[in-house]
Point group: C2
Chain length 162, copies 2
């Protein structure tokens, strides 16, 4: 009996008219997400980062050499609001991890690029990050992992249809 069971049982008692099947699934997805976040945050914090900063640095690193994207593309790929991205870039810039430079193709825009420090930091952190992630699913065997991927895929399609 986990925390989610506790909640669904309370609802069954108080509001027996409600079908809480979906709540069980969605509640566990939420708990799992929070557990993952919490653990991953430790890795980030050890290097002076948080999820927001890691997100931007990793997006730039993944983009490949020269590790440079416009704020607009970063927006799209990280799915945050424009003001949020301005703020993230400001903080990373004052940390010396990224640098704004002019965009020769469009002077409304900038190019945001990893600095030397930023590149070596993200390469180090992402190596630890995938190890953290691996350790969190280490107890699932190979067939579970495959099945889980499939179900998550189905659930995502179902949820994103609305």
């Amino acid at each position: 009996m986990d925390h989610v069971d506790f909640i669904t049982r309370q609802w069954e008692k108080e509001r027996p008219d409600l079908d809480v099947t979906a709540m069980g699934i969605i509640g566990r997805v939420a708990r799992l997400y929070l557990a993952y976040q919490k653990e991953m945050h430790k890795t980030f914090a050890e290097h002076g980062l948080n999820a927001a900063k890691f997100d931007v640095l990793a997006t730039l690193r993944r983009a490949g050499d020269p590790y440079t994207l416009s704020p607009g593309v970063l927006l799209e790929r990280t799915m945050v609001a424009s003001g949020t991205m301005t703020n993230r870039i400001d903080r990373l810039e004052s940390d010396g991890l990224v640098k704004r430079s002019t965009n020769p193709a469009d002077s409304r825009s900038f190019l945001v690029g990893l600095t030397e420090t930023g590149l070596s930091l993200i390469d180090k952190v992402v190596t630890e990050h995938v190890q953290t992630q691996a350790s969190m699913i280490a107890d699932l065997d190979a067939s579970d992992v495959e099945l889980f991927q499939t179900l998550l895929g189905k659930a995502l399609v179902a949820a994103e249809l609305d």
Copy 2:
């Protein structure tokens, strides 16, 4: 090829030394969580609520008659910091949905209880909420749901061990 595949493929190209299996799972859990949040938020917003307010009202409602808990118990059950709970109670109180009253057993503490308005609101919203949740997993058949529950349970145990 979904968004998570896009990211893992970028990493495979840029950092072929990394094993991104876990990233695929954890990334999909995160996407799913966000998709669920986004949809559930609509239901809350239709009634002037957000997830934070719903969380508190629902916790009080689930607790059963007389729909009253101390801030400390609310803290435990909603897993937020104490300052956060103070703020949530303040907002709900100014909305007229909950009311602080003195705790006869401990005068450091208060009792936070649903008002009439709060009770009828949360009963209405939670009814819609479970419908929203049900619709988001409606495309999964019964065997998928069962399997998914099992895997989420396993994954939770694995993740919370660390």
